[in-house]
């Protein structure tokens, strides 16, 4: 009978061997020797509808297959960190710890979308409810608790708001939407900034959590008086009601692609890590219709990767106006990336090599 120490070492060795084998298998599947190159990606569910369009189009254009699993931004970051995929996708920029864990990873903004406040108020259709940042923050801080609150009424002259308790709904899992939403609230409410802050997952002052977009949508749908936030594409595809938001120009806007594109015009320079916040863009005549809850979504790749050439080509292609137009329609609502961001993205992309 071998002693325990030996057994543990043996089992550890076995486990390690198994892990290596699995990793090897993963790498093998990521680098097939067939004539048709395959790129594997995973992550954000927000970008998944875009990739569903891009994938077939790119296969047609370049003969390269693109597989994408919509596992969520966090899982996408984990997957690219572990190199089980060729690219990850995330709606929130990498945190410092995530960046260091990922090693030589770079994040490249490759699509532009938005999160929208979604509500369930009996009698109020989509776009009929108007809100501004400070009011939204107060609602989520639990300081406005009823829909007939004077602050809400003041924004909605002419609309009959019911005497109905407000239930706030948020994502219970870490999410890029939560990042954009809390980023916005931090911009418009100093109390939010100091008490809660910005992250993919925060310590909520109250409210109900739902798992992923469908979970949040389900809670809102079954709860009169509920308000939450969901990616715009999901909201449109599922015919949910969403609010007009007052931007810093003083206009109430509705998160159409031009509104989102306008928000992105606020970007003057791109910082080294490509981490950009375009929520609550300042007042400016050029983008007076800017949607204040817009967000870039990122593709994450390793700088040194065996698939460098194929990846570079694919991402370049995705950034072209033609590809960006493919995902900018009444269903998908991804706005085209502004030029300054585009050139930063291409600069970053050029660093990727085999």
């Amino acid at each position: 009978m071998p002693n325990l120490g030996t057994s543990i070492r043996i089992v550890t060795a076995l486990a390690a061997a198994a892990a290596l084998a699995a990793a090897g298998a993963g790498a093998a599947s990521a680098t097939p020797a067939k004539q048709l190159t395959t790129l594997n990606g995973a992550g954000s569910s927000l970008i998944a509808p875009a990739l569903a369009v891009w994938g077939p189009a790119y296969t047609k254009a370049a003969g390269v297959e693109v597989n994408y699993s919509s596992v969520g931004s966090g899982a996408g970051i984990a997957a690219i960190t572990a190199k089980t995929v060729d690219f990850g996708a995330s709606d929130a920029p990498l945190t410092p710890d995530q960046a260091s864990a990922c090693g030589d990873c770079v994040q490249i903004p490759w699509a532009l979308s938005a999160t929208v406040p979604t509500y369930n108020i009996p009698g109020l259709h989509s776009g009929q409810l108007k809100l501004d940042g400070p009011t939204l923050a107060k609602i989520f801080l639990g300081r406005i608790t009823n829909w007939d609150d004077p602050a809400v009424k003041k924004l909605n002259a002419g609309v009959r708001l019911p005497n109905l308790k407000i239930t706030t709904v948020h994502r219970s899992d870490g999410s890029g939407d939560t990042y954009a939403f809390t980023d916005y609230l931090s911009h418009v409410s100093s109390q939010w900034a100091s008490q809660v802050g910005t992250a993919t997952s925060v310590s909520w002052p109250g409210g109900v959590g739902g798992a992923k977009n469908p979970g949040v949508a389900a809670v809102i749908a079954s709860t009169p008086g509920a308000i939450g936030y969901i990616s715009v594409a999901y909201v449109i595809q599922n015919h949910l009601d969403w609010a007009r938001m007052k931007n810093s120009a003083g206009n109430f806007v509705l998160a159409s692609a031009p509104d989102i594109e306008a928000a992105a015009q606020s970007v003057k320079t791109v910082p080294a890590g490509n981490k950009m916040s375009i929520v609550d863009p300042p007042k400016n005549a050029k983008f007076k219709n800017a949607w204040p809850l817009s967000t870039f979504t990122y593709v994450i790749v390793h700088t040194v990767t065996p698939q460098a050439q194929a990846l570079r080509k694919f991402i370049f292609w995705a950034l072209t106006p033609k590809a960006q137009r493919l995902i900018n329609n009444s269903f998908l609502v991804f706005a085209p990336i502004p030029t300054v961001v585009l050139s930063a993205a291409e600069r970053t992309l050029n660093k990727v090599h085999a």
Partner: protein
Amino acid sequence: MASIDTTSESARRPFEGRRVHLGDVVLQGVAGAAAAGATALVLLIAWKVVDGARPSISKFGISFVWHDVWNPVVGREAYGAASFLFGTAITSFVALLLAAPLAIGIALFLTELAPRVLRGPVTSLVETLAAIPSVVVGLWGILVLGPALRSHVEPWLHSALGWIPLFGPPSSAGASIFTAIVVLTIMILPIVSSISRELFLGVPAELKEGALALGTTRWEMVRGVVFPYARGGIAAALILGLGRAMGEAIAVTQVIGGGTTISWNLFNQGDTLASKIAAEYQGATSNLDVASLIYLGLILLVLSLGANIAAQWIVRGVARRHGVTRGGRA
């Protein structure tokens, strides 16, 4: 020839010389390796969990267990398990409390009382319940069950039993600790009832006949003979159910509504150790976040192991009290 000599030698003294039976050796080797492997695996997992939680352990120490805070925002990170521990305890215990009489009742009905034509179909129906993936149960929980409980059951419980803190004002959304409890009840029901059913079936027919022959009714027989005989096994089954309830993550994540405050009102939102880990592990944003989630996992591991050891201890204790280890199907 030497070989002939040996043959005649062993033929004369047929019982001498221990022969090595290849089958026995192989069996012994395989079984031994499997046992050692299983033990090593448990230790390895435990060690991995402790190792992964280390940054959080060294930062928060044991007070992590009773601190009620969870803030993953970079720059103001603070983590503690109290509200999740509370959520795990209250959901799994209340679910067990609801499931136990139901499951035992179903098992009893199926083994002793139901007309024979009903037994087969009802048994497979209950067992099918166990086969429903938890994510589907969770979806049903948030789409159908939660809203129904919120609109019909919670207000009624509140008006009838509102003086008990557990039945506070109804939740506004269908997601609540109460919904999680009902979902967990449904999930552990088939486990407990099918183990109980097996236990009841394992009660020797002679014992039941012995009781009935005294002129007792079926129910008296069940109470006097079937229950005592199966008691230890049922206790163990209940603890297994408790373990399942404590460990269930996906379905709970979907229906419990998330929340980091400790509230005695079952109609409020909450979180359990498992549901918190399931919800946030993939999206954890910092090393301390990851370590703290693993720390939650460590606490859950300790609880589950404790429950398992308790189950084994109960089974042994009952076997001892009966004087004989009999019918040890548990």
